[in-house]
């Protein structure tokens, strides 16, 4: 890291952030009650982010053999010379910083778990089958990581962590399915059996679903589908997305964007948080950011670059992503504040409507307006007279994101951590009752 930093500085670069991640991950995938493949990855990856005179460049170096960091630095600096000047000058956050340890994000047992993941898969499969699943699919993932950051502005720090997660999908018959999830940073909080029970139980109850009907419904969103919506909300609260014109939160800072019952934070240093890390990729300490407080949009997520553009402060949200932007502001652990209700209260509040457990394939017609649709997946149930009724299928939520946020009527006390294939950011969310949600179906 020091070699890269000094090579860049020698070439006259003003701001340099060097990152280095060493990771070991394993994944067990299963379907039809049987393991299909076991994966193992081992990687060491340096990243470089440069800024000078408003121009920026970035490189992810996922190779180790014969790499000449000096020549990579020269290539990046040369590219910066010829690109158009950027719109703002900025400095990386000035260090040094003190990074406080985060409780519960490293469990040595997870670095040695090895084939223990196969046992977790077996436990989940068996518990889902006991609940009535005929077939069970899923994935168990564990990993350990060490992350180092060194910047030209005097920030230097490191962190390490572990993670384990399981997604279980149970099939009680072809289109009666349910999903269960458990994610944790330590083994004691990891519950594959519960994930299997949850998946199997939803699948069993979803048997015999009839085709749903288009219309407006009071909807109780389960944690998995609401986490997906919250992920889109957090994307829109990234200053980078706002600047791209791909946010439904443009020009709404300080304004009401949601029901007063809805508050959303991003907390990068949450104890036991699956996405927790003590420093961001510009070396700035992570912390808790209030994105939406009682319905008011309070903050965007920032890197030092977007903060300079918006006349704001960095939020410890910088993540090296390469691709389009190099360094982007992105959430770590999304936390929806709980409500005061039991799940049954939400059903009561809905009166008649739908309980939707999960979704996939969310796409926007217009990112600025927030017009979107997403497909209901796994168990969907009618709510009749405040009680769960028959399963239904073939439904799509077709609505507007701001309208949904503003129509939140109640949230449960109970919350669940969600992260899976469709929801990349760890999200802690309750069940949520939303009024008059647009639901559509296929016509033919």
């Amino acid at each position: 890291m020091n070699r890269i930093l000094s090579a860049c500085k020698k070439l006259g670069v003003v701001s340099v952030a060097v990152g280095f991640t060493r990771s070991r991950d394993q994944m067990v995938r299963f379907s039809n009650n049987s393991i299909t493949v076991v994966n193992s990855w081992q990687n060491e990856v340096p990243t470089v982010y440069l800024a000078s005179n408003g121009k920026r460049a970035a490189c992810r170096i996922e190779e180790q053999e014969g790499v000449e960091f000096e020549s990579i630095a020269r290539e990046l600096v040369d590219s910066m010379k010829v690109i158009p000047r950027g719109d703002v000058d900025f400095d990386l956050p000035k260090g040094p910083f003190i990074y406080q340890e985060i409780e519960g994000i490293y469990d040595k047992r997870l670095t040695e778990i090895d084939t223990g993941l196969i046992d977790a898969a077996e436990v989940a499969i068996n518990s889902a089958r006991k609940e009535g699943a005929e077939r069970v699919s899923g994935v168990v993932i564990s990993g350990s990581w060490e992350h180092f950051v060194l910047t030209s502005a005097g920030a230097e720090g490191s962190n390490r962590g572990t993670e384990i997660e399981i997604t279980v999908r149970a099939f009680a018959n072809e289109d009666a399915t349910g999903q269960g999830i458990s994610i944790a940073t330590n083994l004691d909080r990891f519950h594959p059996a519960e994930a299997g029970v949850s998946a199997g139980s939803i699948a069993r109850k979803a048997r015999g679903a009839k085709a749903g009907i288009s219309g407006k419904y009071n909807v109780v969103f389960g944690p998995a589908i609401f986490a997906d919506l919250v992920d889109r909300v957090a994307d829109s609260a990234s200053a980078y997305t706002v600047d791209l014109g791909l946010s439904f939160f443009q020009n709404t800072l300080g304004k009401r964007v949601a029901s007063e019952k809805f508050s959303l934070n991003d907390n990068g240093r949450l104890p036991n948080g699956p996405g927790s890390i003590s420093l961001d990729d510009e070396g700035f300490p992570t912390g808790e950011i209030h994105l939406i407080a009682k319905g008011i949009l309070e903050n965007y997520l920032h890197t030092s670059y977007t903060a300079a553009k918006h006349n704001a402060q960095p939020t410890g949200s910088a993540q090296f992503e390469g691709g389009l932007a190099g360094m982007v502001p992105a959430p770590r652990n999304l936390i929806v504040e709980p409500g005061e209700h039991q799940f049954g209260d939400l059903l009561d509040g809905a009166g008649s409507g739908l309980y939707i457990t999960n979704n996939w394939y969310t796409r926007f017609q217009n990112y600025q307006t927030g017009d979107f649709s997403t497909i209901c997946r796994d168990g969907v149930f009618e709510i009749r007279d405040g009680k769960l009724g028959n399963p239904v299928k073939g439904l799509r939520v077709s609505d507007n994101m701001i309208r949904i946020l503003q129509s939140i009527e109640a949230l449960s006390k109970e919350r669940q951590w969600i992260r899976w294939w469709e929801v990349p950011t760890p999200t802690l969310t309750p069940y949520v009752l939303v009024r008059d949600v647009g639901i559509t179906t296929a016509s033919k």
Partner: protein, 474 residues
């Protein structure tokens, strides 16, 4: 890379593997972005590593590392074997591979203008010329957001398996992606995503005339904003443009005919399929519908000569005259179905296992011009392009919301309409195709599948098609 791959195969065999393949892969790519005329960082990605896949006791293991040191390669090979062995106790259907011919070959997609020789400045100049073409004076519409992205990537692969295949390949890919937001006072905003992409050198960019494409798209946004009216609702005749035909073929034919989905292997992630084994040979659409997936289309974004299991690629006819025909197979699913692989196994990086993917999926053209498709329609809609779309995880219930769209009145394309919604089942859609156009177009796309996600370069395409009596409106 050959020495490293050979070491991996030898070590895995020594450790007890019945089958081994090793793929060393290097990718070097650049991404340049202009956001409203301001340069985002020039980003470079350099990846080099090796992925080793084994079968032991009917159990499949995959291990990868980005260290090519001998000791690390040995460790990774041993790891692949060890974890596969450990999983064998929880396997009810042992993995086996359909027998395939072994190949020794070196292949390369030759570039007329090598992307490595094109300077960053020249690449940015291309983006700046697009930006210039999008001024209000040029396109007569306000574009408050203009995101222009130019990507290039050069991939070198060396593939070796324990059955004697030895294949090296070099593939350059280049893509231009843009998102435009048009806005008109009192009319709101519209967003358009367009993706041009090929497996070629810089000459592809020279041929695209991207400034003209982008300006054309911008002018269309202006027209839709200024003149767009509510679309008709209810049962109508609908003509879909090539872009919409392409996404339909990809989503509701290509994906559900991936054999791994049919076998349930993607059940917890990308989902399964409405297509079952017993549906092969059964009618799913009208006799006008023939859909092909072909990795060997010259210059196509999804081009390859051999797949990542070393099987030689060729076209696959997924639906023939309305009948479900070929599935997309790798060697594992081919063995399960008792057929040969049709070379659909692809991996996007050294650290990803090869899985079944589409390449370039399109509807076979018919013999109608666009004018002929609309001339018999008294009242209908022409949906030329789309923005929002999605489909359920069995690939049965899908939705496409039109972007550039017009009424059809008395056999002529008429007034722009805003956001017509087609929400329909797969057999409902394919069963209603009553005429197919002859003018082919393809779009670049990145197809998502796998866990971890693998974004695979593909083309989607086809001619305009006519759908008889379909409900529009959502």
């Amino acid at each position: 890379m050959e020495d490293e791959a050979r070491l991996a195969v030898e070590q895995a065999l020594k450790s007890g593997a019945a089958y081994v393949e090793a793929r060393a892969q290097r990718d070097v790519g650049h991404t340049l972005t202009l956001n409203n005329g301001v340069a985002e960082p020039v980003t470079t990605t350099r990846r080099l590593g090796i992925g080793i896949r084994v079968i032991v006791d009917g159990s499949m293991g995959f291990a990868s590392t980005n260290s090519l040191e001998s000791s690390q390669i040995r460790t990774s090979a041993e790891t692949a074997v060890r974890i596969a062995k450990a999983a064998a106790r929880l396997i009810s259907t042992p993995s086996k591979l359909a027998p395939e011919k072994s190949w020794e070959d070196e292949w390369e997609v030759r570039m007329k203008i090598d992307i490595r020789q094109v300077s960053i400045q020249e690449k940015f100049n291309e983006l700046l010329s697009i930006e210039k073409a999008l001024s209000f004076e040029q396109v007569n519409v306000s574009l408050p957001s203009r995101i222009l992205v130019l990507d290039d990537e050069l991939t070198e692969k060396f593939y070796l398996n324990s059955e004697g295949s030895k294949i090296s390949g070099i593939v350059p890919r280049i893509s231009l992606f843009f998102i435009l937001t048009g806005e008109e006072k009192g009319k709101g905003s519209i967003q358009r995503i367009r993706h041009e992409a090929q497996t070629r050198g810089w000459e592809a960019v020279k041929e695209w005339n991207a400034p003209a494409i982008a300006a054309g798209e911008a002018r269309i946004l202006g027209r839709m904003l200024r003149d767009g009216i509510q679309p008709p609702r209810g049962e109508i005749d609908l003509v879909l443009g090539s872009e919409v035909t392409g996404i339909i073929c990809h989503e509701s034919c290509g994906h559900p005919q991936e054999a791994d989905r049919i076998l349930g292997r993607e059940g917890a992630q990308a989902g399964e399929s409405y297509v079952k084994r017993e549906m092969i040979g059964k009618r799913i659409g009208s006799e006008h519908v023939t859909i092909i997936d072909d990795p060997t289309l010259p210059n196509s974004y999804g081009f390859y000569k051999y797949d990542d299991e070393g099987v030689k690629a060729g076209p696959r006819t997924l639906i023939k005259d309305g009948i479900i025909s070929d599935l997309l197979h790798n060697r594992e699913t081919a063995a399960e179905f008792g057929v040969s692989s049709n070379a659909a196994a692809r991996s996007v990086a050294y650290d990803r296992e090869p899985i079944i993917r589409m390449a370039n999926t399109f509807m076979k053209p018919g013999d109608h011009t666009l004018d002929e498709l609309v001339e018999d329609i008294k009242s209908g809609v022409y949906m030329k392009s789309f923005m929002e779309w999605n489909i359920d995880d069995r690939r049965y219930n899908q939705r496409y919301v039109g972007l550039e769209a017009y009424t059809i009145e008395n056999g002529k394309i008429g007034t722009p309409v805003r956001n017509p919604i087609l929400e329909v089942t797969t057999p409902g859609l394919y069963g209603s195709v009553d005429a197919v156009g002859k003018e082919m177009e393809y779009s670049g796309a990145t197809c998502g599948k796998g866990d971890p996600q693998q974004g695979a370069p593909v083309w989607t395409g086809g001619p305009p098609i006519r759908i008889h009596k379909i409900h529009l409106g959502g």
